[in-house]
Amino acid sequence: MISFLKVENLSKHFPVRTGIFHRKEHIVRAVQDVSFELEEGQTLALVGESGCGKTTLAWMLLKLIEPTSGRFWLNGQDVAELTGPDLRQYRTNVQAVFQDPWASLSPRMRVFDIVAEGLRLNDNLSDGAMTKRVDEALCSVGLRPDDGHKFPHEFSGGQRQRIAIASAIVQRPKLIILDEPVSALDVSIRSQIMNLFKDIQSEFGCSYVVVAHDLGTTRYMADRVAVMYLGSLVEFGSTDKMFDAPEHPYTQALLSAALPIQKSDDKPPIVLRGEVPSPVNPPSGCLFHPRCQSFIGDVCSSNAPNWRKSGSADHWVRCHIGTEWG
């Protein structure tokens, strides 16, 4: 069976110049050899700390930036090779909702036009049909068709995010990329939006790739989780398994750093040493070894670990612990 979304060895390197006269050039390895698969109708969460490459990865999937290397397929089609109508088809199939509801809607466009933009660009609809589709989309996200005449500044953050969602779903996409869709919202608003995402998924059957650094959101939304550290995936698997029995030391630290409202046990949290290294100058060996609480010796600092399948069928870890090395 062809998987819905298949990503293979995707990498993105940014050249950056520094110095007063921009003479020094460095490479930022924002995303390095990322591979995963996702089934239709499912939600994949990308988690990791700031700067670990989540957005870069998401943007590659959106074809907003070109990968340095690697490929990915949607429904078996190599996305890099899409042109003309196929590319247009891809554009209607893959949509996005971004983090900042204040920046993701053009302040000078009416809500109706914002939502209708995708239809205008990709479908040839009559005015009536278009209005119908836009109104439907607005209703689906809990806004009224009337709101179409207003400008974004007349809405609160949560409502703006709804508008963004309406414009993402109006073309009935198969995959929606959500880049931290609720982090900019107030706690009391977040749950409305998260529920909305779930409703939309059950209504349209679309898949999500959701970027998050809030683990609660991840657990609530995702079927599968990919944990990123410094541009690379370190653990990948089903959400429940990942949350209940994380295998990678980084995943463990991440989970323990998220302070729960009700503590379920009295295990002391794992406090990592040091800071996240710069992606310009990544550590040798296992990227995580300088901060790893379970550091087991030279092997960690000199060899990059390979993927290892953990227990259940669909859970992968990239750590020396548990391999023949460890």
């Binding site: 520094t18 110095g19 007063i20 020094k24």
Partner: protein, 293 residues
């Protein structure tokens, strides 16, 4: 690169703007006189040859002989007049800075106070009065009527005050506004707030923390300032008969003394570009974020 384009512009000046021979010759010059002079000045050669010669000579600092100021090279004529302009411009900058920086800072600190309103009136007036008009009025009031300063001409500080004030007038307005808005922005920043909650006194917060950051904006304006003082010098020097490069440029253009015009324009452009370069460096000194490697 910029300089290259500037040299082309400067060179074409002489050809865009008519024959220098016209200006040099008397009304009743003969054809023979015209041809002789044209040849004498090398104006009979093709443009590109003239341009190459021009660049070649310019690189050696040789812009040719002034046609109006006989017996002097264009560069001598200009450089002779330069100190006067620099002195006047320097004083004008000094006045602008001394008057506007504190005013702008205080206006921002005491926002919406009478002081702030006063500052904005000054800024408004400064931007609304044509400099030449102000210059004439200043001269009549302070030199002719009150007799406090000499009316015009080259001389010591007392001679420079009126023209410098007239020159600085607009800049005071511009800098005050700029400083004020930069200060307002900085005063709103977290680090100023943090400096305050650290327990620093108001003065330290304003001058050490806020001003140093706000100063970046007026500093970047200095490039424009330097440039506009040179350009402004044309008008002010004309009115106050101040023998600087501005007045010189005016005379040279009127007399179509192209070697001098070319040198002045090129000099102004280089000066402006250089001033901006200096400002970039100063900028780096003020703002460590720029000088990082």
């Amino acid at each position: 690169m910029s300089l290259f384009v500037v040299t082309i512009v400067v060179f074409s000046l002489s050809h865009l703007t008519g024959d220098p021979v016209d200006a040099m010759l008397p009304d009743d010059a003969t054809q023979q006189q015209i041809e002789d002079l044209t040849k004498h000045l090398g104006l009979d050669r093709p443009y590109h040859v003239q341009y190459v010669t021009f660049i070649g000579n310019a690189l050696r600092g040789d812009f040719g002989q002034s046609t109006k100021w006989r017996g002097k090279s264009a560069s001598t004529v200009v450089l002779e007049r330069l100190p006067a302009t620099l002195k006047l411009g320097g004083l004008a900058i000094l006045i602008s800075v001394v008057a506007s920086i504190p005013l702008g800072v205080l206006a921002a600190v005491y926002r919406n106070s009478p002081l702030d309103r006063g500052a904005s009136v000054i800024a408004l007036l400064g931007q609304s009065l044509p400099a030449f008009w102000l210059a004439i009025v200043l001269m009549w009031i302070f030199a002719v009527t009150l007799g406090w300063f000499p009316t015009s001409g080259l001389g010591g500080l007392s001679y420079m005050i009126l023209p410098a004030v007239a020159m600085a007038w607009f800049q005071v307005a511009a800098l005050t506004r700029l400083t004020r808005s930069a200060m307002l922005e900085v005063l709103d920043s977290e680090y100023v707030k943090f400096a305050k909650v650290k327990g620093l006194t108001e003065n330290v917060v304003i001058w050490k923390h806020a001003f140093r950051n706000a100063a970046i904006v007026p500093v970047t304006y200095f490039g424009v300032l330097a440039g506009s003082l040179l350009t402004g010098s044309v008008v002010i020097e004309t009115v106050f008969a101040w023998p600087g490069t501005g007045l010189l440029a005016l005379e040279a253009i009127r007399g179509r003394d192209f070697p001098v015009v070319q040198f002045v324009v090129l000099f102004f452009a280089v000066f402006y570009l250089f001033a901006n370069l200096v400002i970039d460096v100063v900028y780096g000194l003020i703002d460590p974020r720029i000088r990082q490697d």
